[in-house]
Symmetry: C2
Subunit: 363 residues, 2 copies
């Protein structure tokens, strides 16, 4: 583990291979990073992929995935993988839910059917999915919940974390704890202490990027990250924009995930060194140059902006696919470069210059 | 050119390479075979790809494609390519159209804007698109048009064909004529004679697969095909189902196109040696075997039916993409195999057995 200020460059070892950190985890919500094959994810350098327990539990069902030999065998991705616990989706997607000490009861976003996630169940489900890293069940309260609610919730989340650990059987799967506590530094500290006391091989910072300002997020993270055990991987849940990624890396985060690069692609937006562009804008219609000069990905070397813009406007599958490939590769490459700069001891200067170029000309 | 009964095995030489026939042409309606890259089309053995002049003329516009260096440069497909004249789309898609000796005026399916296709314009547009093979402007009357209308129409189409040939300038592009005449053998003969009299390096049979029964189609083709010059390629417009392909090959057709394999894929239907299956059917949900055993394509070797069925049910891009890849590969491979059997002099027996296996167990 090398450090440059608070920024860290490490290696996360898993049964499916090592991941160089900082690492962006592309999100394969339903067992697929939208539009891309596992082979392409390898080609663009993705080191670790995320799957969503909530979705996979409901569709196609955890039993089927387990019968297929786990999520690796089912999806064909043979590299490192992490599954979330489903907690975030229960709290963000479910129209109705009822939380108790036992767990959380919710209605499926697909068909309204009722289900209950307990710490024991999500642990078992994640063991069946068989990712290299599983997450404890946590509650992710809304950004505007009261201090009292946050305190009550983080204590329940810590109790749930203990139950997850007690239920966890697979020695070839790491179970990570999650720190909550909203925007309250003392509650973050309390949550962190309770979680670290239980003891996990890695820790996530949850409950941020849920509606608060970027400044509030960074301020909260900056008081939380330094308190985390230095020798354990740190996972920031839910950041994927290039500037945000560089900001959380600077505060000592090792891993992060977000649907942003893939979601942007479906809306025709592409990440470039000069900022984000939207290919639906008329200015790109006749641009016969590459999408992002210097990028070696298939979208940038094989096609013009004009062609990609045509595909996007016509809502052609190939457009979604190629822009997704580019955006994920862009984000993965940003992390690879950040790692180099950390190892060179030049992270602060490099990241400031990078952000300035990216944000200065953003469309 | 080898023959086995009426079936033919030949080689079509173009500036972008040779095509072994019989050949299925995947349709890249808007400059993309939906979901696939040119590299994948090469990998699965596609020899020649079709582009639609109607769509490309309207979006992104023929001028832009010409500026980009033509459809090959614009789309990245560097193999043989054919463009239709746009006639078929004008008659099948346009809500309003007005036909005259001059050409056909129509309202764009995209925005209702008014355009006129003349033989001279579609020839010029296709020269700008720069495919290896261009088609004359033809009228494709509805299947139930009167005999009188068909006769009037085929004569106009022949006059248009003459004007297309007169307007055609590119010596590196072949311009094919089109035979019309509905289901009337004598009108087919008249159309054929008028078209052959003008003289083209290849001939298409149009106006079939437009609503008539399969039996009527085959009967009409069987009287038309033998009259076509034996030393010129024969293109049957609009067939893409496996049984139909084998039937038209048997009658002496060399090339054909259809959106069926790609369209089926978007609806979750896959072609297999045992017949067409729909992956939305519950029976495939837990099937951990391959989509089509023995098929070496990425969809069949990298994933289970259960995973593909999951992707299809969730409307995931990767599902459309992989099934499209498989269906196009299946169709291309069927033609490659048909060619082998023609060369071996065993086409009749082989194709009957193939159809029996495919149709006998169709779902």
């Amino acid at each position: 583990m090398a450090r440059d200020g608070e920024a860290r460059a490490g290696v996360l070892r898993t049964p499916h291979g090592a991941v160089q950190t900082p690492a962006f985890m592309p999100v394969g919500t339903k067992g697929t990073v939208k539009g891309l094959t596992p082979g392409e994810l390898h080609t663009i350098g993705a080191g670790i992929v995320l799957g969503n327990t909530y979705h996979l539990y409901l569709r196609p069902g955890a039993d089927l995935v387990r019968e297929a030999g786990g999520l690796h065998a089912f999806t064909g991705w043979d590299g490192p993988m992490l599954t979330d616990s489903g907690g975030y989706q229960v709290f963000s997607l479910a129209k109705t839910r009822r939380i108790s000490e036992k767990g959380v009861e919710f209605a499926s976003v697909y068909d309204g059917s009722r289900h209950t996630f307990t710490p024991e169940l999500v642990t078992k489900v994640q063991e069946g999915l068989g990712a290299d890293i599983a997450m404890v069940l946590d509650e992710c309260p809304p950004a505007n919940a009261s201090r009292e609610y946050h305190q009550e919730s983080l204590r329940r989340t810590a109790r749930w974390a203990g139950r997850c650990k007690a239920a966890h059987r697979r020695s070839d799967q790491a179970l990570f704890g999650i720190v909550q506590g909203g925007l309250y530094p003392d509650l973050r500290e309390e949550s962190l202490n309770r979680t670290v006391e239980i003891g996990f091989p890695g820790y996530a910072v949850g409950g941020l990027s849920v509606g608060e300002s970027r400044e509030e997020m960074l301020r909260t993270l900056s008081v939380t990250a330094p308190m985390l055990p230095a020798d354990r991987p740190r996972y920031f849940m839910g950041i994927g924009d290039p500037v945000g990624i560089l900001q959380v890396i600077r505060l000592g985060v090792d891993m992060f995930d977000c649907v942003l690069p893939t979601r942007l692609a479906r809306h025709g937006a592409a990440l470039t060194a000069e900022g984000r562009i939207n290919l639906r804008n008329a200015g790109h219609r006749r641009d016969l140059g590459p999408l992002d000069p210097g990028c070696p990905c298939e979208a940038c070397t094989g096609y013009s902006r004009a062609y990609l813009a045509h595909l996007v406007r016509e809502d052609e599958l190939l457009g979604h696919r190629l822009i997704t490939l580019h955006n994920v590769r862009f984000t993965v490459e940003l992390c690879r470069r950040a790692r180099e700069e950390i190892l060179a001891g030049d992270y602060e200067g490099w990241s400031r210059a990078w952000i300035s170029r990216y944000a200065g000309t953003a469309a």
